[in-house]
Amino acid sequence: MVSAVQEMDQLTRVQNPADPANRVKLEVRDVAIRYGSSIAISEINLEVRKNEIFGIIGPSNAGKTSFLKAINRMNDFDSGMSVEGEILFDGTDIRDVRNVYALRNRIGVVFPLPVGLPLTVYENVAFVPRLRGIGDKAELDVIVERCLTRAALWDEVKDRLNSLGSLLSGGQQQRLTIARALSQEPELLMLDEFSIAVDPVTTMRIEDVLKELKPEMSIILVTNLVQQARRLADRTAFFLDGECVEIGETDDLFSGRVKDARTTDYIEGRFG
């Protein structure tokens, strides 16, 4: 058991960027996920580096979403879901993190269908800062404007910050959820098929946003569009039926330098 002080220390220490071990943000060792007797993920090993976009591609039912849930320890709230193996966030096994809320706070999540909370646009973005005890209106104003601007939404909503977030269009709502995730000042941003309910133009805008965010955080991009992974991801993993078939530099995967033929088959659209 790690003491609370050590835990905070490990999560917040200033790390030496020269040390290669410190370039890893998230390390996943032998992770298996089960729902009762059915296996969602078996024996996955991978690492996500700092300031990289890590793509995860694969057909539905490959265990991509379950994998993201496990990283955020959402299995705590889902008694049917069990996770084995180690997930290290900044070198700390997340199972040892006693304050799971602080862990989740450092990880931003964007869902396939935009979930605008039934609050105003402003309150959607101010939600996490408020939970952190920021009550000063001026301070919140700054945070809200900054996050909405970075999510490329500010210009469209600055005149209706007090209307309901759920009344925005689908593409705007998805950018709102990104702004909300950014209000957490996340170290890791996980996007789960964010473009499913978003038009192509907005998709491209969000992709630009992600490129801009990369210098500040690690991003896991789960996507059903292989071309999206190609455009954005530094490295890409291919999940199939709960198995991680292959992990490699995105360029390698898309230029046929693969270890497993199934990867190329999927990328070229021969199945999935």
């Binding site: 959402m74 709230f77 869902f111 979930v115 605008g116 909370l117 039934p118 939970l131 309901l164 995730a181």
Partner: protein, 298 residues
């Protein structure tokens, strides 16, 4: 029009079609009549009460005490007593019921304990009111020593109506999409932060509706209060929850069956007041529900 004759022939009714259509009509009418029958009792009750009771309704009837051995005068002590009983019952049952429902909807894992609670709620809802009355006498009047009082009667009513509050609250909590909760949890909000900021504000309409339905139900209850706190006749108005009180429902029973020489209009008038209170609250509940539904946020 190449061959209209053939096209027409294709859609000629067969013997089977005709009989199917006839049966269809028969059942439709049958079901409609059954549904329509529902209106009858409501109409009969309301018109009877209005015709026979409305003559006695007046300001004095509502706001003075009964006189001449309850054969004349007004119903004010009973009216006020009902307000007391229902009010105190609400103060007890709403916090308990809402808290229980929040636990069951938002926290409870699926285990034997939760199942036991759910079973208890179902059974509590099925207990006949006269049994609740006797439970109230044993528990609140005697064991807790409240005596026959507003407090004992209201607690009995509260126990009896808890299932209504719990079920209505739980249903409105569960009408809030799970995705909202998961979005909050993923941002590092605790369950309570999620409930307070997102779930409860969006289920208030359902909870209020449940509460109002509880009020209207409690208003009419007679058995649970007649042994625990409501009295036949009391010359003074209640001043605290430890006093006994008169109540409209019991008063109706008394003037209908227990007192000789009551003018015919009196019980009808009491019943009319009672049913008006209930209908008024039900209408308020419907209006509130419609108003809040119009403000739905997703």
């Amino acid at each position: 029009m190449a061959n209209p004759g053939i096209a027409d022939n294709q859609f000629l009714e067969t013997e089977l079609n005709v009989s199917a259509k006839r049966t269809e009509t028969l059942f439709r009418i049958l079901f409609m009549v059954m549904a329509g029958l529902l209106i009858l009792p409501v109409l009969i009750i309301l018109t009877t009460l209005l015709v026979k009771g409305s003559s006695i309704i007046s300001f004095d009837f509502l706001f003075t005490s009964p006189t001449d051995g309850m054969t004349a005068g007004g119903i004010f002590p009973a009216l006020l007593g009902t307000v007391w009983l229902v009010g105190v019952a609400l103060i007890i049952s709403v916090p308990v019921g809402v808290a229980a429902a929040v636990y069951l909807s938002e926290y409870a894992p699926d285990n034997w304990f939760t199942r036991a609670i759910n079973l208890a709620i179902i059974n509590l809802a099925g207990v006949p009111s006269i049994v609740h009355a006797l439970f109230g006498v044993g528990a609140f009047v005697i064991f807790f020593g409240f005596g026959t009082s507003i407090l004992a009667a209201s607690m009995t009513l509260a126990v009896m109506t808890l299932p209504v509050v719990i079920v209505a609250t739980r249903e409105s909590l569960q009408a809030v999409p799970q995705a909202f909760r998961e979005a909050c949890w993923n941002m590092g909000a605790t369950r309570w932060q999620t409930i307070r900021r997102v779930v409860l504000p969006n289920s208030v309409s359902g909870i209020l509706t449940g509460v109002i339905l509880e009020v209207s139900r409690t208003t009419g209850e007679t058995a649970p209060i007649m042994f625990t706190g409501a009295a036949f006749f009391i010359p003074v108005l209640p001043e605290s929850v430890f006093d006994q009180t008169m109540a409209l429902s019991l008063h109706l029973f008394v003037v209908s069956t227990q007192v000789p020489n009551v003018p015919e209009a009196l019980p009808y008038g009491v019943a009319l007041v009672l049913i008006s209170m209930v209908l008024l609250m039900n209408s308020a509940s419907i209006a509130l529900r419609m108003h809040l539904r119009g403000k739905k946020k997703w």
